[in-house]
Symmetry: C2
Subunit: 227 residues, 2 copies
């Protein structure tokens, strides 16, 4: 039992989503190093043991480098491993799944030419590094599932947002219309939102702005929205 095992290559990659114009977008970077030089891939890399206290910190650090900020939402998705997914040898990737408001990141992205928002429906056209397409698909399913029983999608919006905006983001994610009324009921029941002082124009009656209560944790509803 004293055999020396070689450690696998270990990397952390993140699937950062946002929603813009009824489109689900994912952040991709153009790879500057081998393997898969020049292909698009997920932002990520190796742990830096001097800086990162754990893999969450690695994910945040790598995302910050590309977007200028730490994502509003971050959770572990899944580890993927195998002898053939990286030409350099057996590798393990810990995939994260993250959300930000498009507005928060947009200027920064525009200035980093190696990073870009790509609509999920356009992914098929691209050649993605490793099994990153597969990871993105897994992340999308997780996001969709979570959207059915939680308010997770708020993290795709700025701190102040209207019901209509939240409704639109939810509908984009689950690809199905929902009832305004159902959303209002959940907002009320969750008790994690505050009515802001402001209202904003909307084309008709002024729309109430909401914010997340400071320090409020997301709640899980015990019923799903129906798909």
């Amino acid at each position: 039992m004293s055999a020396e095992y070689t450690n696998p290559l270990f990397t952390v990659d993140s699937v950062l989503f946002t929603v813009k114009n009824e489109q689900l977008l994912v952040l991709l970077v153009k790879r500057a190093q081998a393997p898969f030089i020049g292909d698009w891939g997920l932002p990520g890399g190796f742990i830096d043991e001097k800086i990162d206290n754990n893999t969450d910190a690695t994910a945040r650090r790598k995302l910050q480098a590309k977007t200028g900020l730490s994502p509003a939402y971050l959770e572990q998705l899944q580890a993927i491993s195998g002898p053939d997914r990286d030409p350099r040898g057996f590798s393990v990737t810990l995939a994260y799944f993250a959300l930000v408001a498009y507005q928060d990141v947009s200027p920064q992205i525009a200035s980093v030419e190696s990073a870009s928002w790509i609509a999920l429906k356009d992914l098929a056209k691209l050649n993605l590094a490793f099994d990153h397409l597969h990871i993105i698909e897994a992340a999308r399913q997780r996001l969709q599932q979570k959207t059915l029983y939680s308010m997770t999608p708020v993290f795709c919006l700025p701190t102040q947002f209207t019901i209509a905006q939240l409704k639109s983001v939810i509908e984009t994610i689950i690809e199905k219309p929902i009832q305004r009324k159902s959303l209002m009921r959940r907002i009320e029941a969750s008790d994690i939102f505050e009515i802001s002082e402001e209202k904003i124009p909307s084309g008709g009656r002024m729309a109430q702005l909401y914010t997340l209560k400071p320090g409020a944790d997301l709640v899980n509803f015990e019923r799903n929205l129906s798909l």
Copy 2:
């Protein structure tokens, strides 16, 4: 960007649960090597790149070594990482969460004196290696949550089982009684079970045995049982 990063120590550990006599049990092994020699810990270890095609295979191989069989249910739980959790240095553990029927494993366990089923309520008395207590707690919460919206607990039972047995396992996991009727409705609605030809005595009327339909996938209900 050409810095050489040191890879962290990478291990795979599993939280194998079963239910016996209205008690939730977890499989622990007495550690034969440093660190934490002599303490109880989760079964697990390093990837063997020659044998394991991925980390799932590592988890299964390590569990097989201790129980003689591959668990009926296995899913990734979570990766835990940090510079201080292992005295040997920065480490990452990929934790799995698994289920088996007590009857399937029991004889094998008894013969391996280094492995033992421990009731969850007795864990506090033990000194567990690493942050394994914390991992077990996370696994228990995941199992509890899954039990509210799926039939996952069947994997704690032999292939043939009665409604009463399943009900009892569920109640043990969520620590709350449920209605026989609710369970029956879910069994019917899920459409993943078959009525066996056999019935078994129960103290009163004979109880119908059920089995999982071959190749049936677990379904998620869109409503939770209430806690």
